[in-house]
């Protein structure tokens, strides 16, 4: 193959702009007990939440960094901003949103998404939700869809019943950190038997340099109910490191269904260290659809605790790691009841020296008779500088279960390239088509607009990768 000299070089990060929005309130850099108290006071939280935050903070102080996965030693937790608020009131009507912030959302395409099919939108800017819109239909159905802070204020009984019961502060250092300083995030409650096909969506965005974003999401899908939640993330490109340490808890009750779709396109200085966990009860289904592009480092292993008989859990993920990117992600499926099933399909692409590793756990507990798990890891490594590992952990404590594991690592096939090029398609376009084809099983699961955006992002990522 010959050099393609006219190929554009690696694109500037597409959403790498930042606005000069002055925060109304900020706790300054670094984390102390006073900062935690200040956050809680600023939010006018009940005592139990302050106690929870303080307990979490002390746990955080004592806990070690993770002893596996990527090297986090460059992460400077001392000089980070832990809380700031861009505006001091929440907006429901788009017209009332300040122009500066609106401009950011404009560039992210939020209003467009809104026009087309947004069911209800809460777009996170900095650490607070500034724009919130809920369609009447949701209210009529009794679906609660709000930001987590409002959720705590308006639905304290529900929040207190579920909050942090799946992800304990002591689970890992970053869940402890999140528990201490969390702000924003999404709260959804879908009442018994209420089913809706319209996706509920939310956009997240880190804006201020060095600001940590610690959103906290709690979703409860009651018996026989269903919800499809979509979250898209992009972040501006700053010179020093930002941290995103979210905690997500999803409860799917008997016969319930939840799909949680995430597209993350962090700029290449963001540490994304997340704890996402779901519980599926009898005959309930939990599906994670997870796309990760960019970031400096990602550690994310969404899990499903299959706690009810016949529960199903799936994970479909795509990870793309370019230059300077380390994606360490996977899934955890814990089979703790009979006749449960799980499926993990992980697709990854590594290029320009990027590293993309699959780290996953499948665990069959003693009481998991007749359960089944399927794991499939498929990786394309685009050049010799990039790397990929598959690190599965399987624990089987029951003799009557079955498990499949397939892993495949390949390069862009010369044979496929040749075939496409023999029809007149350029090497660059042919490579893009092969990559798009590779991720297609993922993109076809996304709402149309997300699929379009993801294809566009991947196509940017692939530019300059040939020749």
């Amino acid at each position: 193959m010959t050099e393609e000299t006219t190929m554009p070089q690696f694109e500037e990060y597409d959403y790498g702009f930042s606005d000069d929005v002055q925060p109304v309130f900020s706790t300054g850099r670094g984390l102390t007990e006073d900062v935690v108290r200040a956050i809680s006071r600023e939010k006018k939280e009940p005592q139990w939440m302050l106690d929870f935050r303080l307990k979490s903070f002390h746990a955080y102080e004592k806990m070690p960094m993770p002893d596996f996965g990527p090297d986090l030693s460059d992460l400077d937790l001392e000089h980070m901003l832990y809380y700031q608020k861009a505006t001091d009131k929440q907006y429901r009507d788009w017209e009332d949103v300040p122009d500066k912030i609106k401009e950011t959302f404009d560039r992210l395409g939020v209003p467009e998404a809104e026009r087309k099919y947004l069911a209800g939108s809460s777009a996170q800017y900095e650490s607070e939700v500034v724009y919130h819109n809920m369609r009447e239909e949701f209210e009529k159905l009794g679906i609660i869809f709000t930001d987590m802070d409002t959720g705590l204020r308006e639905y304290p009984e529900i929040v207190q019943e579920y909050f942090s019961t799946l992800v304990k502060p002591t689970d890992n250092k970053f869940s402890a950190l999140n528990s201490a300083v969390w702000s924003g995030g999404t709260f959804i409650y879908v009442p018994k038997g209420v089913r809706t096909d319209i996706p509920i969506q939310s956009y997240f965005r880190i804006n201020a340099e060095n600001s940590g974003q610690f959103e906290r999401t709690l979703i409860i899908v009651d018996e026989g109910a269903s919800v499809n939640y979509v979250e898209g993330c992009t972040a501006p490109n700053y010179s020093s490191d930002s941290l995103h340490a979210a905690v997500v808890e999803v409860f799917v009750k008997r016969d319930g269904y939840c799909r949680y779709t995430t597209i993350q396109n962090w700029s290449k200085n963001v540490y994304s260290l997340e704890t996402k966990r779901a519980q599926a009860m009898e005959n309930a289904t939990m599906e994670w659809v997870d796309g990760n592009l960019g970031s400096k480092m990602t550690m994310k292993y969404p899990s499903v605790y299959l706690d009810g008989e016949g529960a199903r859990g799936t994970m479909l993920s795509i990870a793309v790691a370019g230059e300077g990117v380390d994606q360490d992600s996977g899934a955890r499926m814990i089979h703790a009841a009979p006749n449960t099933s799980s499926s993990i399909v992980s697709k990854s692409i590594a290029k320009d020296g990027g590293a993309v590793d699959y780290r996953g756990t499948v665990r069959f507990e003693r009481d998991s008779d007749g359960s089944f798990a399927h794991v499939e890891c498929d990786t394309i490594i685009m050049d010799d500088r990039s790397s990929s590992d598959t690190i599965p952990y399987n624990t089987i404590l029951n003799g009557n279960v079955s498990m499949e594991h397939e892993a495949k690592v390949s390069k862009i096939s010369e044979e496929q390239l040749y075939y496409l090029m023999s029809r007149g398609i350029s090497e660059a376009k042919a490579t893009e088509m092969i990559i798009m084809g590779f991720v297609e099983p993922f993109t076809k699961e996304l709402p149309m607009e997300y699929a379009v955006e993801l294809n566009r992002l991947i196509s940017y990522e692939m530019e300059g990768s040939v020749g």
């Binding site: 023999s422 029809r423 007149g424 398609i425 798009m436 084809g437």
Partner: protein, 260 residues
């Protein structure tokens, strides 16, 4: 009229010389057939014309309308008017047949003059109906899970969509039942005309009953050893390669029997 010239072509693969001085000239409006025993370099010739990077040109030239194409990468050769219907088409997951063919057509057109979806679909529907292909074939992933016959049919569909100046059909008849063979032949015959030339590579005379060639070349030992009209293929059918070889007094070892 376009002209494809192959001049004293020597080609090797993995350090072994396969083609040892092939000369061939063809014009649009003509159908040429190349026949020859196994291992004689027929596929090497077709892959080299297309530009498969696995094959190394040791000597000689390939010219399209006077321009040496050996320096061109595969995609450029294709856009210049060459097409290779492959013996083993690649399978590509996630890329639909229709999407692929539209990309191929658009690769030949300017950025601001891409084929409209309607025009494309109209052409596609018409060609697929002609080749007795079901509509769902266009939405299936490219060659994935296609039977041998479906793959070959799909190659001919691409040929009819792209409309190249010269098509090389590399053993398009292998693995086809008689119905598929007829459909494939029908497609090639439909393309026949003043602006189209084809080079048909085959083991068997049977295909040439359906696509009657203007010229038949017999290749042995990496060279074209004799050329004639359609009756040469018939003669070959009767006498076999050994007969032709002995008649020409050639000292070539035929590997066919050993390789089988």
């Amino acid at each position: 009229m376009s002209k494809l010239e192959i001049i004293d072509l020597h080609v090797g693969i993995d350090g072994k010389e396969i083609l040892k001085g092939v000369n061939l000239e063809m014009n649009t409006g003509e159908i040429h057939a190349i026949m020859g025993p196994n291992g004689t370099g027929k596929s090497t010739l077709s892959e080299t014309i297309m530009g498969n990077p696995k094959y190394e040109v040791l000597q000689g030239q390939i010219k399209l309308d006077g321009q040496n194409i050996l320096e061109m990468p595969v995609d450029e050769r294709a856009r210049a008017g060459l097409f290779l219907a492959m013996q083993y088409p690649a399978e590509i997951q996630g890329v639909t047949n229709a999407e692929f063919m539209r990309a191929a057509i658009n690769a030949r057109r300017a950025e601001d003059d891409q084929i409209s979806v309607m025009a494309f679909l109209k052409k596609l529907d018409q060609r697929m109906a002609f080749l007795d292909m079901t509509e769902e074939m266009s939405e299936r992933y490219l060659n994935e899970g296609f039977s041998g016959g479906e793959k070959k049919r799909n190659e001919i569909l691409q040929l009819m969509m792209i409309e190249p100046k010269f098509a090389i059909l590399d053993e398009i008849d292998s693995g086809l039942d008689i119905d598929a063979l007829q459909v494939v032949s029908k497609g090639v015959n439909e393309m026949r005309g003043a602006n189209f030339g084809a080079l048909i590579i085959t083991h068997y005379q049977r295909l040439l009953n359906y696509i009657v060639p203007d010229y038949v070349h017999i290749m042995m030992g990496g060279k074209i050893v004799t050329t004639g009209d359609a009756s040469l293929a018939q003669r070959l059918e009767n006498e076999g390669y050994v007969g032709i070889r002995d008649e020409l007094g050639l000292d070539i070892k035929l590997t066919d029997d050993e390789s089988k």
